[in-house]
Symmetry: C2
């Protein structure tokens, strides 16, 4: 009897008793700026996402699943650490994300998902966009990942401004977005701590990330592994490989989503082909809402209000599917969940220890595996370091609102209250009729804010 067979048998026996579960492989597929409404199974009228739709049917689609922040860097910090970015210094109200000239990054004392899983013997691989610090000490391979292939920040950074100015002067304003060419951006493609090249062919990013991910899965299929596949797309500038050009009636954005959908299909197919699907938990979600300032080059939030950069639902509620054939109860979950919860959930599923003192992570495993109610009852909506809104149960209270990228901030003397179950679009303020609910949420806010401690702001670090 092969060792792996024996382990499987033992696991089966243990599982049947409901006590301990064999440590599953973990795959997190994280997209960039994809909106809540950008899956067919979330109601997009045009985009074709058959692989995501199938994943949703076979797995659990969560409809109230939030990221830790409405922009890239702090959102990713929340996923990696299970802690609100305001605790790690990975958010700021001025520079909202890390830039190529930033000196900061994820502090060494933060315990990442990869470090946690590595301590349990997992092979840990990352493919794709990091955006938690590009100086060597901050890179994935210094944060628990055995390997990393990808770009350190967004694909629109390190722009060749002179060239872009020239192109737009010739072809019209915004041409570099409408007809992007990889050479307009000097973003580095890296492997470990080494820069492989500048201005990589961005048309190949989704395809190559997928191939690298499949290689990682095949190379590590004999042991528990953790794969973090963080797509650079559909962040502008939008690129897709030759095969996906003009496939969608929804334009370049549609093509890009169709290639991501293909990528998801390839990953799941690999897991099936290798016979490890029923021992692998896959999470698909996005880092924040759609970048609506880019109009049809951005996605849509479906029925939700607002998009990337804002604390309206469209900025932080994401398209989300958990998949683990045979273990995850198929269905649709309306309960609250967050990328913040992945830490505690994976700790629970793998027997790992949560070592941080202050965490914002709930163990969702009983919901995933047994359909139990989610332990998460509240969500905090930060814009930079400021708490703009709090959700508790069905209700969300906005203390301040602001569009993603406009100077239209409003601080409310009387906050806005919405019942998100009845009013997902945040259209109908019911503050007047519900003073007790407001008082409850105020108390939750106060208790939460009392736990915050001053930390160094990594995003403003010079």
């Amino acid at each position: 009897m092969r060792k792996s067979t024996l382990i499987s048998l033992v696991s089966l026996v243990i599982c049947s008793c409901g006590l301990v579960r064999a440590e599953p492989n973990i795959v997190i597929i994280f997209t960039d700026d994809m909106g809540y409404g950008d899956m067919s199974c979330n109601g997009h009228p045009t985009l074709r996402t058959p692989n995501l739709d199938r994943m949703a049917t076979e797995g659990q689609k969560w409809t109230s699943f939030y990221v830790a922040a409405c922009v890239c860097t702090p959102s990713r910090a929340g996923l990696m650490t299970g802690r609100l970015p305001v605790r790690s210094g990975m958010c700021s109200s001025k520079r909202r994300v890390l830039f190529p000239d930033s000196k900061g990054g994820l502090p060494a004392k933060e315990h990442t998902l990869a470090e946690m899983l590595k301590s349990r013997g997992y092979a840990t691989g990352m493919v794709g966009k990091w955006h938690l610090g590009h100086l060597p000490q901050y890179l994935p391979t210094n944060n628990g990942f055995d390997s990393w292939y990808g770009i350190p920040y967004s694909n629109d950074m390190d722009a060749d401004h002179e060239r872009i100015k020239e192109v737009n002067a010739t072809n019209g304003r915004g041409d570099h977005w409408q007809n992007p060419r990889s050479e307009y951006w000097n973003v580095p493609l890296m492997e470990g701590e080494k820069i492989l090249m500048r201005s990589p062919d961005q048309e190949l990013l989704t395809k190559t990330y997928t191939e690298r991910s499949i290689e990682f899965i095949r190379a590590n299929k004999q042991r528990p592994f953790f794969l973090y596949l963080a797509h650079s797309m559909p962040h502008v500038p939008l690129f897709r490989s030759e095969k996906f050009k003009n496939r969608s009636t929804a334009g370049i954005y549609g093509d890009v989503i169709e290639e991501i959908d293909w990528s998801v299909g390839e990953v799941l197919k690999t897991l099936r082909d290798e016979g490890i699907a029923d021992n692998t938990l896959v999470l698909f979600t996005s880092d924040n809402g759609p970048w609506t300032r880019f109009k049809t080059l951005g996605g849509i939030a479906g029925p939700l209000r607002g998009g990337k950069g804002s604390t309206w639902e469209g900025g932080m509620r994401e398209p989300t599917i958990f998949w683990w054939p045979g273990s995850i109860k198929p269905g649709i979950v309306h309960d609250l969940g967050s990328t913040l919860d992945i830490k505690a959930t994976l700790a629970s599923l793998t027997g790992a220890e949560l070592i941080e003192e202050q965490r914002d992570s709930y163990d969702l495993s009983a919901t995933l595996l047994h359909g139990a109610p989610s332990p998460r009852k509240e969500m905090f909506f930060y814009r930079g370091v400021e708490l703009f809104a709090v959700r508790h149960g069905s209700y969300k209270l906005h203390y301040s609102t602001q569009s993603g990228y406009k100077n239209d901030r409003v601080d409310y003397e009387k906050p806005l209250l919405y019942n998100l179950d009845m009013d997902p679009g945040e259209n109908y303020d019911i503050a007047d009729e519900n003073p007790e609910i407001i008082a409850d949420i105020n108390r939750i806010r106060d208790a939460h804010q009392a736990t915050l401690k001053p930390v160094e702001n990594q995003l403003e670090k010079k």
Copy 2:
């Protein structure tokens, strides 16, 4: 060998040759004021519609399926006749629907779906809301239906204004909507041409309609039948039976949708149980978009703009599923379709003749059965008798816009142009960049309008 078995065998042989198909049973389930976003499979984050979701997976979900008008009476006239209501006089810009004091109704010369199918030997039954005239000559049983059980117009008509005034004076404005009681409305429940009672218990409407529909199916399962089940819900006042109270976290509206979903499940289950599912085409759709002026007592249009009463997409694009196991190719169809097309489609599927001179109906059967492109390439958006907008392919041109129930009409010197495939929310006007597309659509409009003839306005008839 029984005669029906012989017929089935013959049909099977004929079908295999792809020449003629046995005449299928037809079931149309039509809801009232349900929004595009009000199915879980169209992205509603809270509503639970497992039966519709399953129907969509087994059948074809259409994502660009339009009704003939943005309010009740003209929409239903379009479905029944396959002709734009402006041709039958069933629309008006003043009184937008028929009221209990109206003297008009569907003109006798209009050839209804029921008359067409009756001429092919179909048993024709209707259950639910009619709203095409309540005087005897206009009723369903004088328009091709063998039987009818339901209400002649909307469930908020024949209001007892005195009583409602009193209730609201005591309990607060709008209490009759928030806490409706059947006795506030004197709407009649009818069977054929007979009024069974006034102010029927509206809590039982969905349930009773469902039971009556199932009875009709069982009674007619040996011959081709046409069942038109036109739910009164989720039109306000909202009512649901005891079993569905407080089931949904989305409030009364959610409960009502869950009961409709249950009803759909019961109808499909009956077809399966009786062994006639694979010889029955079922269409599920709604008469117009959500009545957003009722806030959380109305539905949502999901990613679409506007709602009931407007010619924005949310007013006329509907949640739509076709189901016919074994015949309809499962999938999602992005091509255009309309309730106007049901007439020609059913004529094609049943061998019936289209006798009207001017029709607005395309045969969708090749799309349904073989995945062919839809023959419908354009859609006309009327508000009353005025053409507000035209869609052609991906593009929609608005000559005028107005909210469903506000006096905010704008007539554009330069019309608004949207690419609906790339911009389903009609957010990004691209008129400036596309003069040729505008010229094309103007030509389509002119050609269409040249076909219109003056008709008697049935809605203003005194």
